[in-house]
Symmetry: C2
Subunit: 189 residues, 2 copies
C-alpha cells in the first residue's frame, strides 16, 4: 500500500517544474529543499549523485510520458490521422496550452546539451522518427514525410519559445492549430 511520506517517484514532477523555472545550473539544492519540503539527507538518499541524477530522473520521466501519450498513439493507431490528432492533443495538454516550456528543448541549448546529450538526442529523434512513420502511413512520400515531421517538431519548440517571449500562450495555441491543419491537409494531396 502507498505510504504517505514522499517516495523518490513522487518528487520527480516537482523537480521537473523547478528545473523548468531556473534551468539546470540556476537550480540550487536549497531551492529544491524548500519547494519539496525534503532535507538534503532525504534528497541524497533518493538521488545519491545529487543534482545531476535528479535532472536525469526528470528527463527519464518526460521520456516515459511521451512514449505513452505521444509516440505510442502515433505508432498504434490504425488510422494514422487519428494518431496524429492524438499527438497534438497530448502535446497541447503536456505544455499546458503554451504556459509550460519544454525542458528537453531548453536542455538542448547551452552546456546542458553535452551533459545530457544522449537523453536530449533520443527525445527528439524518437519524436521525429515516429511522426515520420505515421505521415508515411498516411500517404506521404519518404522525403516529404521526413521534412514535414521535422517541421512540426521544430515548430512546436519554436512556438513555445515565441509564446514565452511574448508572455502570450495563445501564440502556441494558434501555432499548434495551424500545424495540425498542415499535417492533415498535406496528407490529402
Amino acid at each position: 500500500m502507498p505510504r504517505e511520506i514522499a517516495e523518490r517517484h513522487d518528487v520527480i514532477p516537482m523537480l521537473g517544474e523547478i528545473f523548468r523555472e531556473h534551468g539546470f545550473s540556476g537550480t540550487s539544492l536549497s531551492e529544491i529543499t524548500h519547494r519539496t519540503g525534503l532535507g538534503k539527507g532525504s534528497l541524497y538518499h533518493f538521488f545519491p549523485n545529487g543534482k545531476k541524477e535528479m535532472a536525469e530522473a526528470v528527463l527519464d520521466d518526460v521520456a516515459t510520458w511521451f512514449e505513452t501519450n505521444v509516440f505510442a498513439p502515433l505508432r498504434k493507431s490504425k488510422d494514422p490521422e487519428l494518431g496524429i490528432k492524438k499527438m497534438f492533443e497530448a502535446v497541447d495538454r503536456y505544455f499546458y496550452s503554451g504556459k509550460r516550456i519544454c525542458l528537453v528543448g531548453a536542455f538542448a541549448l547551452y552546456n546542458t546539451r553535452d551533459q545530457f546529450g544522449t537523453k536530449v538526442n533520443a527525445y527528439f529523434s524518437s519524436w521525429t522518427k515516429t511522426l515520420t512513420a505515421a505521415l508515411k502511413r498516411n500517404g506521404l512520400g519518404t522525403r516529404e514525410a521526413r521534412e514535414t515531421a521535422e517541421d512540426i517538431v521544430a515548430s512546436i519548440q519554436g512556438a513555445l519559445v515565441l509564446a514565452r517571449s511574448q508572455d502570450d500562450p495563445m501564440v502556441f495555441t494558434r501555432a499548434l492549430k495551424r500545424l495540425q491543419n498542415r499535417a492533415v491537409v498535406g496528407s490529402h494531396e
Copy 2:
C-alpha cells in the same frame, strides 16, 4: 584613433559567446575573466552592475545587429521579396548555419525571461511585426501575413533547438530553405 587595449565595446561579442555556451546563471565571473583576459577590476569598471549589465549589453548588441541586418532590409527593400531573401541570408549568417544558438530565444525560457523581459519581448515582436509588414506588401492578407510571420520566426527558433539537440546543423539549414520557399511561394498564391 582606436586603442589597443580592450574597450567595453570590444568585450561584448565575447560575452555573448560565453552566455550562449553556459546560459546566464551558468556563466561565472571567473569564466569571463579567463576568456576575456580582463580582471574583475576592469570588468566592473566597464559594467558597474556586474553580470546583469553584461548580459543587457549583449542583448542590446544583438538588437542592433538585427535592426541593421534583418529588420532594415525587410523594411527598406523596394521589392519585399528581396527584403525577405536578405532576411534569410542574414539569419543564416548570424546563426552560423545552425551552429550557433539564439541567445534571446534561450533567455525566453527559464527565469531569464523575467529578468530581461523587455528586451526579449522587443526582439521577437520587432521581428514578427517587420516580417508581417513585408509579407503584406508582398500581397498577403493581414491575417495570413501575421500567421506566416509567426510561423517563420517560431520555426527558426525551433530549428535551432532541433539542430542542436541532434548536434546536426544541417537540420537548421534544411528548415531555413523550406521556410524561404514557403514565404516566396505563399506570396504568389
